[in-house]
């Protein structure tokens, strides 16, 4: 492809009008572990596979879902270390907002600032784009919200979305099962079923992570025991 001649430098457009590094970043995301999010009428649920490279890894120490503020959390598909850096930056931005206004940052503002950081890394010298797409779930005065942020820095609000390896099957599954008035408990079941669709091996509370945010506006990562309870309900 003629594009490959332009794939070395981030700040150079290819003749087809693409920034090839961003395309490659999206490929990195697409080969990451599946993650998904569903916005319910009274909350949001996000979930991800947690496939570890070996059974010797201490799975309790791996936290793929992180909170950014007490009422906003995030999950990713792609490169874990890039995710950690973004979480750190976003948490700082959220705290700076709070220090200035003594008010919790609205979800849209935090998403916008995180996306701006990701965009900076597509237009600066000597850096590469982040190899992650984020699903940000939050509950503020505007209600429950779910946003996806891509390596390019573009962000979209979704009713339900998936990212990573199994994205097309997962999205088709979600499209079929999603209704506008779905409640949080049903959304959790749907999230589990969607993950199960493309799951290789036996699904359990130890190899998936789920987090919810409900009307009380507290972001909570479920414990493996709680996940096992939901899995039993789904059976």
């Amino acid at each position: 492809m003629g594009d490959s001649q332009y794939s070395f430098s981030l700040t150079t457009f290819s003749p087809s009008g693409k920034l090839v590094q961003i395309e490659h970043a999206l490929t990195a995301v697409g080969s990451g572990q599946t993650s998904l999010g569903i916005k319910a009428s009274n909350g949001v649920v996000i979930a991800t596979e947690k496939k570890l490279p070996s059974i010797l890894v201490d799975e309790a120490s791996v936290q793929k879902i992180q909170s950014l503020t007490p009422n906003i959390g995030v999950v990713y598909s792609g490169m874990g270390p890039d995710f950690r850096v973004l979480v750190r930056k976003s948490r700082k931005q959220a705290e700076q907002y709070h220090m200035l206004y003594k008010e919790q940052i609205p979800v849209t503002q935090l998403v916008r600032e995180t996306a701006a950081v990701m965009q900076e890394f597509t237009q600066s010298g000597g850096v590469r784009p982040f190899g992650v797409s984020l699903l940000v779930a939050g509950y503020d005065d505007k209600g429950p919200q779910l946003y996806q942020v891509d390596p390019s820095g573009s962000y979209f609000s979704w009713k339900a979305s998936a990212m990573g390896k199994n994205v097309s099957n997962a999205k088709t599954f979600l499209e079929k099962r999603y209704t506008d008035d779905v409640e949080l408990e049903d959304a959790i079941h749907t999230a589990i079923l969607t993950l199960k669709e493309g799951f290789e091996g036996q699904i359990s509370g130890k190899n998936i992570e789920i987090a919810t945010i409900g009307p009380k506006r507290i972001f909570k990562v479920l414990t493996p025991a709680e996940i096992d309870d939901y899995l039993a309900e789904v059976e």
């Binding site: 220090m99 200035l100 206004y101 003594k102 008010e103 609205p106 503002q109 916008r112």
Partner: protein, 204 residues
């Protein structure tokens, strides 16, 4: 003469029943010479939020411009007006930024917060917030204003009574201060309307 007394000012805000009123004098002086008798100290941030700035007039103008700038950007980004409590935190932060070279101003912030509850507060020149449930005062006539308000204030006044009370308190206090006076500006704000009046007092 202290730098806070260079231009002279009197500012007061008072809480009523689901309403508030904010009032100021109209004199702008250069030490003992009166330069203007129609100086505006109170400005509207949005329909439910007002800020008055007492103290050195040049700092009051610059601070006002900076606050309007920040609020307009906030409105564009967040697609909503700032709550009074949020605005007060912003004022406090901006003032503290200049901790070792401060603005010589004392702001008085008054607004209606969510569910139409009146909110008033003042800060010192480096951003220490003082929230009050009844009234806040600022300016060279501050001490007199404290006395007059303490004597005349009653909780849960309706807008008409609040207007009378605040006007009397302001005019009585500025008469005891040679650096403020020449009438007054008063805004009475309820959830449905904003009334602005000019008071005629002793023109001296």
């Amino acid at each position: 003469m202290s730098i806070f007394e260079y231009n002279g000012s009197a500012l007061v805000a008072m809480v009523g029943k689901n309403c508030f009123a904010i009032a100021s004098d109209r004199r702008l002086g250069v030490q003992l010479q009166t330069i203007a008798t129609d100086f505006q100290r109170i400005s509207k941030v949005h329909d439910r939020l007002f800020i008055g700035l007492s103290g050195l007039a040049t700092d009051a103008q610059t601070l006002h411009q900076r606050l309007m700038f920040r609020h307009k950007l906030y409105q564009l980004r967040e697609e909503r007006d700032m709550k009074p409590e949020t605005f007060a935190s912003l004022v406090s932060a901006l003032l503290y930024e200049k901790r070792f070279g401060p603005y010589f101003c004392q702001p008085v912030i008054a607004g209606l917060s969510d569910d139409d509850k009146p909110f008033i507060c003042t800060t010192d020149s480096i951003g220490a917030k003082e929230l009050a449930k009844d009234f806040v005062v600022a300016g060279t006539a501050g001490d007199s204003l404290y006395g007059a308000c303490e004597a005349m204030f009653k909780p849960d006044m309706e807008p008409e009574e609040l207007f009378e009370t605040l006007s009397q308190a302001l005019l009585a206090s500025v008469d005891r201060d040679c650096l403020s006076g020449w009438g007054g500006h008063i805004y009475i704000v309820t959830p449905t309307e904003v009334k602005e009046c000019t008071l005629k007092g002793r023109m001296d």
